[in-house]
Amino acid sequence: MAKPMALSGNFAAAYATKQINPHVVAAYPITPQTLMMEKFSEYVANGEVDTELVCVESEHSAMSACIGAAAAGGRVITSTAANGLALMFEVVYIAASLRLPITMCVMNRALSGPINIHGDHSDSMGTRDSGWIQIFNENAQEVYDTMFQAVRIGEHKDVMLPVMVNFDGFITSHKFERVDTLDDAAVRDYVGTYTPEHSLLDTEDPVTYGPLDLFDYYFEHKRQQVDAMRNALPVAREVLTSYARETGQNEYDIIEAYHLDDADVAIVALSSTAGTAKFVVDRMRAEGKKVGLLKIRLFRPFPVEAVREALAGVKQVAVLDRSDSFGAYGGPVFAEVRNALYDAESRPGIVDYIYGLGGRDINAVDIEGVYNRMLSASGRMAGDVQYLGVRGD
């Protein structure tokens, strides 16, 4: 069934979008997202999809058009990066609150200024409160598979939330890799059809979207949203873990524990960096060092229980954060991981390494250095938040 293709992250996303055949795609170009939209435009121009492609005049309008289209009751996909995501920030919240299961690829890129076009996570992390489900992907294969999973998770009746499919700008978006693909029919079966309960196009039974909410109901609407997010966790787990069974593709889960069972020290990382870390773990394990890796795929909702279990036996943890929350105490992943373990029975030492901002390369040597520092520390490591690979430290 699976056919290997050489696809970049962008092309994998475009190809998956083609196979999903959504009703509407509305997007605006931004580096490093453009290739996905260009590829998809070709599918449209060649009549390979039924999609209405809306080339809007800004990212703000891209998400706004997606909201209009999704409210009109169909499947909608878009993509953006960095300042584009920042520009649509306001409407990103609206999409989640209107409970519209839009799927959006974010080719993670640093935010200005100074202007920079390379990969870091500050764009998506900035929207972590917005009510979107966020999945971070290691490579093009994951991007491809996650597109289908995202549709299933977002459209689940207990969830009804938009999903952000994150992957690293350039590192994943522009890198060609082998991707095992499904055939079109298999995708069609897997994602099924989307028939929402209400639609703006239903002129027989008219609905009002987005009214003014006074303080007598706003709180309740937010509480519903929280509940949907809570539901999203088991739903996502179910969708991810059953994916291999249903499609014959790889196994997935909301987190990935790599050699953690007997690890003394572990790194927590997202996206492509987790791949490089696996490479290092393999090498160090061959030298008999008890090192492990926790890759977090689902960042929103944050898998508190899973993270706590995965790190239960570890003595020292280093979190790798590819974004900073200026003036905060460490990066967002760090805060979440510490928070998850605050009340845990056994609490490992946890330190934070902010790295790779603006796409500064992180290589095997850097990661091995982090492991070695953890291994050589006697007891808890000193210094909570450090900067990895910045010149001058």
Binding site: H23, V24, A26, D50, T51, E52, V54, C55, V56, E57, S58, H60, S61, S64, A65, C66, I67, G68, A69, A70, A71, A72, G73, G74, V76, E90, V91, I94, S199, L200, L201, D202, T203, P206, V207, T208, Y209, G210, P211, L212, D213, L214, Y217
Partner: protein
């Protein structure tokens, strides 16, 4: 054109029970437009008086599908729904012969200022929709702040008529002209006071495929400081003094309509601008003797724009 009596037989699509001010021009405009349309409609609306007062959870005054997204994106939200309509026709989920009209509403703030980009983009992309600006010439929802539609000399809370500065210092943006610069199939300007003309324009627009833009003057008793019952009176005066001419542009060809055409043809008297300003508190200071020069220069600008328009209609 359908007669008023015929229109009364259609179902009211905006119910009473909305919470706009007594005597508000916006709801008159919305009613006139919806009554003039015999198709099912889907409405999107920008944040503003109209949206806030007609859809207060859990109540809605709209009997047609309605979406409010944000302040700056009524046009593009509507275009998204329209794209979905086309997509679903293509996949067969919606019958190919089904007719639905898409109408986007926005106030002047949400159209002239913060929403102009979304509007410009949606019109340029050629979506089959009608955009209607109900222009009450300031941010009335937040409490009468100046917008780029506010006329020169008008007092607002951010362009107060003070001892040194007599109200807003800039002429209003001519958005109808800006939209005409987009080469759309149909652009027009209307006034609820001349409702026959307005209804006719809506009927025309509904039969044209592609992007349409309509600019309507929407009196606001609170912001303009006029009597509650004066909306219609004043919106007629605006046309009579040529401050708000009635005209349409079809495929780049200009034509004056209704009352304005009669004035251009010399069949009706053009009244002085002061007649229009008098009933409105926001212009009170302009009529003081010390501001005579300013008033004259505004009259000149109104005349200049009017004459230009007359020329364009003969181009």
């Amino acid at each position: 054109m359908a007669s008023l009596k015929e229109l009364t037989e259609r179902e009211e699509r905006l119910t009473g029970g909305h919470r706009l001010c007594a005597g508000c021009g916006a709801s008159i405009i919305v009613r006139q437009i919806l009554q003039a349309t015999n198709y099912p409609v889907v409405v999107s609306c920008a944040t503003g008086c109209l949206e806030v007062s007609t859809t207060i959870y859990p109540y809605t005054a709209w009997k047609n599908p309605f979406i409010h997204n944000a302040f700056e994106n009524s046009a593009v939200t509507c275009s998204g729904a329209e794209a979905m309509f086309r997509a679903k026709k293509r996949t067969g989920e919606i019958p190919a012969d089904k007719k639905v009209k898409f109408i986007a509403f926005g106030g002047d703030g949400g159209t002239y200022d913060i929403g102009i980009q979304s509007l410009s983009g949606a019109m340029e992309r050629g979506h089959d929709m009608l955009y209607v600006c109900y222009n009450n010439e300031a941010y009335m929802n937040t409490g009468i702040q100046r917008s780029s539609a506010t006329p020169l000399g008008a007092a607002t809370t951010t362009s107060p008529a003070g001892t040194v500065i007599p109200g807003k210092k800039e002429y209003p943006k001519d958005l109808t002209e800006v939209m005409a610069g987009h080469h759309l199939p149909y652009v027009c300007q209307a006034s609820p006071g001349y409702f026959q003309d307005l209804i006719k324009k809506v009927e025309t627009a509904m039969e044209i495929e592609g992007p349409k833009f309509m600019n309507t003057l929407s009196p606001c008793p609170r912001g303009w400081r006029h009597a509650n019952d004066a909306a219609i009176r004043i919106s007629k005066l605006a046309v009579d003094c040529c401050f708000w001419p009635l005209y349409e542009v079809r495929n780049d060809t200009y034509a004056l309509t209704g009352q304005s055409k009669l004035i251009a043809d010399g069949k009706k008297e053009k009244v002085p601008l002061a007649e229009y300003l008098k009933p409105q508190g926001r212009f009170k200071h302009l009529l003081a003797p010390k501001n005579k020069e300013l008033l004259d220069s505004i009259q000149e600008e109104v005349d200049r724009r009017w004459e230009r328009l007359v020329k364009l209609s003969k181009l």
